[in-house]
């Protein structure tokens, strides 16, 4: 068995310590949690936060929040790299990130590797503090969501991925076979972009849930941006569609197109041009600065960003691409 200690233990908490925190800091009452985007980031994403992003790869990524983090020049964030793609790339480019635990990062899926993320890691500006697999990551969140200290997993065993993770190996008391135990992971804050949410934070997502069920329950603070803010009554009509119940949520912000340039399933498609533009500019540090000068610091807010990338016309096209896609027939 490889030694299981090269990876830094990040996000783990004694379950009793987290229970006490939850008891004191999370209200169970239905209260209006709407606030401006800037306030949500100011209050819930301080410098040094352990941050996780909802969605997956280029899907349902909370980009409006990410651009706001860059705008507020947050620093020293540790990002949980659970298939972090455009999200972490922008945050690294913005100078917000100092550490990453990696399941998948510094890549853009089919679109290739990330020049910006790779430069940061290879130059030592951003430190990779541990490795693990996608399944192991979501199960770290599941353990936290359940309030148990760890989750047994049968992958990673025998590999450098395991020895560079924070997992330990135990002999299963029944079969006698070795099994990996991954420690619970409680992010300080998790950010989500959803299809609909009420003022209290009851959030519903269409399509696959990916690992957002587990992540929303693992994070201490949850910030939700939503395509549409709906009446509580709308939620009450089909409460079994609620993926994130209100008592988990700390802030609610209505941000149409809040996932741009990533895909909002059944709503709008990727903006390949915008992604390609970033990948092009981010070939150099100067290009990265130009990008932020134009798309973040050159605009007042996310609405300004949306105008920059082509406004109504472009967004309408992205809707069309998704509409044309049989998935929405």
């Amino acid at each position: 068995m490889p030694p299981s200690n090269l990876g830094k233990l990040i996000g783990w908490r004694d379950p009793d310590e987290n229970r006490a925190w939850v008891r004191e800091h999370k209200t169970r009452a239905l209260v209006d949690k709407r606030m401006p985007l800037a306030e949500a980031v100011r209050r819930f994403v301080p410098d040094g936060s352990l941050l996780a992003l909802g969605g997956f790869g280029h899907i349902r990524t909370p980009m409006a929040l990410i651009y706001e983090i860059v705008r507020q020049r947050r620093r020293d964030l540790t990002v949980l790299g659970k298939t972090a793609v455009h999200d972490i790339d922008i945050l690294i480019g913005g100078g917000c990130v100092s550490q990453v635990e990696v399941a998948y990062a510094f890549g853009h899926e089919l679109r290739g590797l990330s020049p910006c993320g790779r430069r940061a890691v290879e130059s030592g500006r951003v430190k990779v503090i541990g490795e693990l697999s996608n399944a192991a990551y979501q199960w770290r969140f599941l353990a936290a969501a359940m309030g148990v200290p760890f989750m047994p997993v049968r992958s990673m065993l025998g590999t450098d991925t395991l020895s560079h993770s924070s997992a330990k190996v135990l002999d299963d008391p029944w079969s006698g076979k070795p099994v990996a135990l991954v420690p619970a992971c409680y992010p300080d804050v998790a950010l989500f972009h959803v299809h609909r949410c009420d003022e209290y934070g009851n959030a519903q997502i269409d399509g696959i849930r990916i690992e957002d069920f587990e992540l929303a329950r693992a994070a201490r603070r949850v910030v939700v941006t939503t395509e549409v803010l709906v009446e509580h009554e709308r939620i009450q009509r089909r409460p079994w569609d609620t993926l994130i119940p209100f008592y988990l949520v700390d802030a609610v912000v209505e941000v149409p197109y809040g996932a741009h340039p990533t895909e909002m399933p059944l709503a709008y498609s990727f903006d390949e041009a915008a992604i390609a533009h970033w990948l092009e500019l981010s070939q150099t540090d100067a290009g990265v600065q130009d990008y932020f000068a134009e798309f973040v610091f050159g605009v007042a807010d996310f609405a300004g960003y949306l105008k920059k990338i082509g406004g109504r016309k472009r967004l309408g096209q992205l809707k069309k691409i998704m509409d044309l896609e049989p998935a929405d027939e």
Partner: protein, 258 residues
């Protein structure tokens, strides 16, 4: 006192139980008495009380008293209707403040038996078992017990079977066993009075007597010694307002009729 309206024992207990639930907190309820008490609390001093059902109902606006822990009334106009995994996980993670339980027998440390009377392998009476009770008593921050029939047969020095943990064998025992810290039985409500637990010994202690009940009756109706402080409150009688709400919630008297 004499000016207060007529009320049944169940109504008195429901008002007493409701009074224990704080606003802005969450409560794990089963069918029957617990949901009645929780709904009363919502209509009076705790409008922001979150009601959660074991089978997945989260924050319903319960229309009529549910008969089963999973029936459609338990998630009527709810914020979420998910699963036992979701709700039990939330409880284990510290999101559920209060739990309501009953039992066939209780010992001085608030441990409870709902499994067997007699020997486990050859029971005199087989009871339903833990169900979710052990989880509620393990996970919730404060567990409230309602035992309508306090007697030497229900308040026993030693249980035939310890189904659900109270304070086990005393201070620190829950933590030593690995149960979540700082939880445990909070109050015990019987036909005679309301009990808490002594900080130092974690043993049952009388807090208040119901109108008309005496310390002597409390002592007689127990198989173990109950701590009696020098000062004992009297359980407040139901107000006309509380009674009106209770009868709105349970018009057919399914529960308050008992």
């Amino acid at each position: 006192m004499s000016k207060s309206p007529a009320y049944t024992l169940t109504e008195l207990l429901a008002c007493a139980a409701a009074g224990l639930l704080e606003d802005g907190r969450s409560v794990f309820v089963g069918t029957g008495f617990p949901i009645l008490a929780a709904m009363l609390a919502q209509r009076t001093h705790a409008p922001g009380l979150l009601i959660v059902f074991e089978a997945g109902g989260i924050g319903p606006q319960v229309p009529v008293l549910p008969i089963s822990v999973g029936d459609a009334r338990t998630y009527y106009r709810a914020s979420a209707a998910s699963s036992m995994h979701d709700v039990m996980s939330a409880a284990q993670a510290g999101y559920i403040d209060y739990g309501f339980l009953g039992g066939a027998a209780m010992d001085p440390y608030g441990n409870v038996d709902t499994t067997v009377i007699g020997d486990w392998a050859h029971p005199t009476v087989r009871l339903p078992g833990s169900g979710g009770a052990n989880d509620v008593g393990s996970f919730c921050w404060r567990t409230i017990y309602v035992l309508r029939k306090q007697s030497p047969r229900t308040f026993v020095p030693k249980l035939d079977f310890l189904t659900t943990p109270g304070y086990l064998d005393g201070p620190g025992a829950r933590e030593r066993a690995g149960l979540p810290a700082d939880g445990g039985p909070y109050r015990v409500i019987t036909q005679l009075g309301i009990y808490g637990f002594d900080e130092a010994s974690k043993r049952l202690k009388l807090l208040s007597l119901h109108p008309g009940a005496t310390v002597a009756q409390v002592r007689e109706a127990s198989g173990f010694e109950i701590l009696i402080p020098t000062r004992v409150e009297v359980t407040p009688e139901p107000t006309a307002r509380q009674l009106r709400f209770l009868r709105e919630i349970d018009p057919q008297g399914l529960v308050i009729g008992k």
